[in-house]
Structures are given as C-alpha cells and as structure tokens.
Symmetry: C2
Subunit: 137 residues, 2 copies
DNA sequence: TACTTTCTTTAGAATCATTATAAACTATAA
DNA sequence: TTATAGTTTATAATGATTCTAAAGAAAGTA
C-alpha cells in the first residue's frame, strides 16, 4: 500500500529507520482524517487492544519523543497529572474539558489577535498559547 | 508578633488548625512583599536549608494542597515536568522562561481582552489563561 | 550475497514525584 | 482533664517515565 511508502519516506527523510514498530505507530497517529490528542497510555492501549499488536512501552516512549523532536507531534502545556500529545502541529490553542479530561482544539483564527503589553528585556517570545478550561454548564 | 496572629486567624477561618508547621509554611509563603512561584521541592528546601526547620515532605504536600483547596495558592497550568504553585491567586497569565525555567507574571491588564469565537454547547468557561514561552534573544 | 556498522527494540531495573498508610501526636471543646 | 477529631510523620506504595544492556534489524560496503 501507498500509505506505508509515504511513512517510510517520512521516516527516512527524518533520519529515522522505518522499523515496523515506527510504521505501526505512524499509521495510528497519522493515517487519520482528523488530528487528535493522546497520552502515551492511550497510544499503548490502541496498539495492544485495538490492533492486537505488541510494541514495548519503551519503544512507544522512544518513538513519541523522536516524533516530537522531528516536529511531527506537539506536547501540550497543561497540568492535570496527564501528559498529552497532539498530532496537530500547527499553531493553535486548547479547551480543556475538566468533566471529561479531554482536550479540544481552538484554532488560531478563532481567537482574536492576542496583544501583550509587557516586554522582557533580552528575551524573545517563542510561543503564545491559550488554555481555556471548560466544564458542564 | 502580629503576623502570626493573622495567620492563626486565616487558618481558623478556613477550618484548618493553626499548627506550627502550617504557621511556618504561611510565613514562608505569605509573609512577603511580592507574590512568587515555587515547586514543592523549592518550598521544602527553603524550610530545611534557609530556616533550618524540619517539616516532613508529606506535611508540605498536605499543606500546599490544603492551601490550594482554600484558594490561597494556585497550581499553574504548564508542562515542563515541574509542577509550580503560585502565591498570586488573582487572575493572571504567565511567561515561562525556557532558559531559566522560571515563571513570570503577566497581569490581566497587560493583555488585551481575549475574544474566543468558538462556543461549545453545554459547556461553560471556567478560566482562560495564556502561557507565553520566552527564551534568550 | 556476506560482512560490518550503526541504530533500534526490548525486558526489566531504576528513578522520582507524589500519594497512601497507620501510628504517634496535638489542638480544641466539653 | 478528658475525649474527640484533626494533624504530623516515617515509611511504604504507586505510577509515569527513563535507563541499561543485550538481542535484533536496517543500511552500507564489497
Ligand atoms: Mn516528555
Ligand atoms: Mn497536585
Ligand atoms: Zn490540539
Ligand atoms: Zn503567577
């Protein structure tokens, strides 16, 4: 199949060998219509329970971190004990639903330009992210 | 001293017994001109190293969480392995300096009104916080 | 193809922050 | 003073993440 060739290329270009573990993880993460948010535990469960495959947890961690380093994943800034990753690597913001513990994208153009009236000498801004916490009405 | 009486009252009002451990922690956290950010580890070190006092780590955790619950501390939404607390409990935003791993307040009035053009049915917003990551120029 | 090198995966151990346990201690009220 | 509920503490347990080191697989070379 073609999908796989794409992933093989993607990995090769990144200097990562296209192992079957990495290809499987690519399929789960990137062979979808929509982007999504996940924890390492989520990903591990999808692989073992839904796909009945066995990839060691160490490899899942290694791969997720490698993909993050290459810019194929983003780690999301929030607290709630859990660490979330995002397959949407464009600049965007988030809702965090405290009721469901789920993240929801808030695209950059759904937020009016953020203007910050405070400068810190010798420092430059590397990112500006909004976290909107929501709960049931 | 008067300071202590204030803290005794503060604790009593909150339904927390004014133990010497809690009073000591109050002094460290609230008997300062400026508000500040800290980790449990920071607080623990201030108590043991600067003040040469011995309060068990469990008590420090218990107290910090009790104070948070009472609204005397805020836990800050960010990732960076560390969990930060804030003695500034007013609504405000943060800079996070990746070079120093320190948080810097960004007051609400230093940010122009954030307008979000996305509503989620059945949900209400409980907070909106901005995290501005900065680094050396 | 055969051989070599480098990278990758893996099980299991180690780490580290945080939380739980349960016994000793202490503030408070009767 | 005594009883009660709340608090502190040492210590163990937990759970997410990282480390280790050996076995396995991909890539490069001839
Ligand atoms: Mn990480
Ligand atoms: Mn906490
Ligand atoms: Zn997202
Ligand atoms: Zn702050």
């Amino acid at each position: 199949m073609n999908i796989n060739i794409d992933f093989v290329n993607k990995l090769r270009i990144s200097g990562l060998r296209p192992t079957k573990q990495r290809l499987k993880i690519c399929e789960v993460l990137f062979n979808t219509e929509k982007t999504f948010h996940f924890t390492v535990n989520d990903l591990s469960k999808i692989i073992s329970e839904k796909l009945n495959q066995k990839i060691s947890l160490a490899t899942i961690y290694n791969t997720v971190h490698a993909f993050k380093k290459k810019g194929y994943l983003k780690e999301i800034s929030m607290n709630s004990d859990k660490t979330y990753f995002d397959t949407n690597t464009t600049h965007h913001h988030h809702f965090f639903d405290s009721s469901t513990m789920k993240l929801i994208d808030l695209s950059d153009d759904q937020v009016e330009k953020i203007k910050i009236n405070k400068a810190l000498p010798g420092k430059k801004i590397s990112s500006v992210e909004i976290l909107v916490k929501i709960e049931n009405e």
